[in-house]
Symmetry: C2
Subunit: 442 residues, 2 copies
């Protein structure tokens, strides 16, 4: 690699976070109006004022001028299902019916040769188009679905967390493993993919309803053997789900206690939804360091309920945010935060633009225990970057004519934005190809 | 006009409604896979199968081939504020604070020479881009704002309902009229614009809080003198608003009773929001024929609450749907219905794709008492048309690969759709220019 390809600088309005705006206020973010992000061998070398950094660049450094766009760390999506890209927008059901009627039907197709590969390509194209450079991904029960996904992610060099789903009951036969095979297949995938390049493994028991106690035991054993792996599952999304989980695990004090008993509630556990949480459950999360994953478009679309971010914060629990495709209705983390704002407004809570943009960058990196690698522009971090045009639509450009400051501009971006605002995405300093929109038809 | 310009036919998948799908089920809609919409002098002459209608067309008829797109009646938006196109996405407040902090600031600009004209152009461009061909529009308090809007709408030949806002208290001085001037100015605008071409007037007291009893008396007098005009106002949006309205009108039994006493609650009254309605208020609506206007994106964005469509239906009250820009967050009636679905899901109610598409076409036409003119493709109706590409985005095209029937395709359109799905809009049979997106910036 020559100096010029190893060294690249992006010029534009830099924005990143070094702390949580809910705690540190204005001191939490860094904003450089005419900024330069200097990237060497895929890592952030420096982020600062162009006038300071430009003179020090070698003559042959490649400088990409993105002015007047915003340059931010790539977005992070903490919960998304790759087998559900063709389930999104399925009509009329709430959680359990929706799983049986739509999701379990589509997930079976992942056993077909080539289907997981096709979905992985679409999925990673779509994420990049939305400026999302890291996601915590549920594959299907089939080990080859995780194999296909990691292979495609490796090819693109994206930092992804993924795991094959473990399910050994309450699902169609074609979608179940066993406590033993789920353990063995997960173990093999961990050996092959966890820490292989930028790929990370998440032990993925779907939820208590689709795992026997034997399987949760196996999942807990995996988590104990691989404390550096994530665990991802679902909890307290829907009242019928909670009732059934409690019925299946009558000895547990509550839903969280099911997971805690089996050793799958820990600091790397990403717990999807957390809507109908009791005080005891919040306490269990705080004690174990488990992360609550808020999926606003999904919670509204499935009518699951309203996530109480204020209570999570008061309980000292880390919160991550996520699209939850295909229960969710948008791949865009901007759209996700627009809906998060609405969920909070309905509860008399609020969410400022800085807090929202923190959540989908550094906030999710902290929640995923990956803030030493991604989510900010601190030197040494991996240079995953999204370049944002805040005025990409007519309605936004018109609205921004009256914006008085950065906070107002950013709130417009969060409230009205989507993938149209993504002007470019970089993965480890390399510009990712933007997939084309479908061919226009007259 | 020659025969060829007077006669135009659009070919594609025709979809329109002749009844309410919630009542008539499958019999409520008409769908013609290879259809032709024949338009003569701006009116629907026939809608049916291309194989039946093509042979009867004169040789020089202009045929526009939109296959495989859907061709539907233009969308109707029952509540939208033109002075708020630069208020949309304003942060952190609920209704009353939001009005004072953002809306009343922007509305004052409408007194400036040329500003109402500029907003009207943007606004009508944006509506057309979203496939919306009729809207019930709040202008500002300034009569010239309505004058500017009607002038621009007349130029485009769009069927619009609009009125200057009446406000004589609880607003900045620069935004108030008086009971007398509000009456006189409205009366003059009615004389000039109501029934002038396609323009219709709506008597527009903003809401009880910003009108004195004297002004509501004047508004009721106008409504009595012009029973063919609409009335539009707000009710039961927010608990603090309700408390204040009740305090200002202590003699009224409830909020609806305020309007009823002053004669502004009738069959052409479009009552925005109706979230926190009592049984008595629903009864008053049913007795007077007043219309409840559901504004889902606004109700969520301002944290106002959840509209109870099931209760409205059970009460025999007509429901219209609307964006309520700038409390609302999208100009798209598709996006509006996606959020309506979510609002209903949170209450254990549902909304099918046919019901959603009915709501924004024939449903709103019925609610606005305009179904003899617009909202369907029955012969003689005005040919306002939207052409829809259901696979306009990557995510939608990918999802539609597995759609098994029309209902599923339409639900994807409603759930994931926005202005990108609008391939063309016709106003009285004439194709409207699609405004360009902002110039792309590197």
């Amino acid at each position: 690699m020559t100096a010029s390809t190893a060294l690249r600088a992006l010029r534009g309005r830099l924005l990143w976070f070094v702390d949580d705006p809910e705690i540190a206020g204005e001191a939490a973010h860094r904003y450089v109006e005419d900024g330069l992000l200097v990237i060497r061998n895929g890592l952030v070398e420096a982020a600062g004022a162009a006038r300071d950094l430009l003179p020090a660049l070698p003559a042959d450094a490649e400088i990409v001028d993105h002015r007047p766009h915003l340059i931010m760390p790539g977005f992070i999506d903490a919960h998304i299902h790759i087998p559900q890209t063709q389930v999104i927008a399925s009509y009329g059901a709430q959680l359990l019916e929706w799983l049986n009627k739509y999701t379990f039907v589509e997930e079976q197709k992942l056993s077909r040769q080539g289907h997981a590969e096709k979905l992985s390509r679409f999925f990673l194209d779509e994420l990049v188009a939305n400026g999302t450079t890291t996601a915590a991904v549920y594959c299907s029960v089939h080990p080859q679905s995780a194999e296909a996904f990691f292979t495609e992610s490796q090819r693109r060099n994206t930092r992804m967390i993924a795991g094959k789903v473990m399910m050994d009951r309450n699902a169609p036969d074609a979608l179940t493993d066993t406590a033993e095979s789920g353990y063995r297949d997960s173990k093999a995938l961990i050996a092959r993919w966890h820490g292989n390049g930028r790929q990370l493994y998440a032990i993925t028991p779907r939820f208590a309803i689709t795992s026997t106690p034997e399987q949760l035991t196996a999942a807990g054993r995996l988590a104990g053997e691989h404390p550096d792996c994530h665990v991802q599952t679902h909890i307290d999304e829907n009242r019928a789900e909670i009732a059934l989980a409690r019925e299946l695990y009558p000895e547990a004090a509550d839903y969280a206690d099911i997971y805690r008993r089996y050793g799958v509630l820990g600091p790397k556990s990403l717990m999807g939804h957390c809507i109908h949480m009791t005080a005891n459950e919040w306490r269990a999360f705080a004690e174990t360091g488990a992360v609550a994953v808020f999926c606003p478009t999904s919670n509204l679309f499935l009518g699951s309920g309203l996530f109480d971010w204020g209570e999570a914060r008061a309980s000292g629990v880390r919160v991550a945010v996520a699209t939850d495709i295909g229960g969710g209705t948008s791949y865009s983390m901007l759209r996700t935060m627009a809906e998060a704002y609405k969920v909070l407004q309905l509860q008399g809570q609020t969410l400022g633009a800085f807090a929202a943009l923190h959540a989908i960058t550094r906030g999710n990196a902290v929640a995923l225990s990956l803030d030493h690698l991604i989510g900010t522009f601190e030197p040494g971090r991996e240079a995953d970057v999204v370049v944002l045009d805040t005025g990409a639509t007519r309605a936004m450009a018109h609205r921004l004519e009256t914006a008085r400051d950065l906070a107002e501009e950013l709130f417009v971006l969060v409230t009205l934005g989507d993938e149209r605002n993504v002007a470019a995405t970089y993965v480890m300093g390399k510009r990712a190809a933007q997939p084309s929109t479908p061919p226009l038809r007259a």
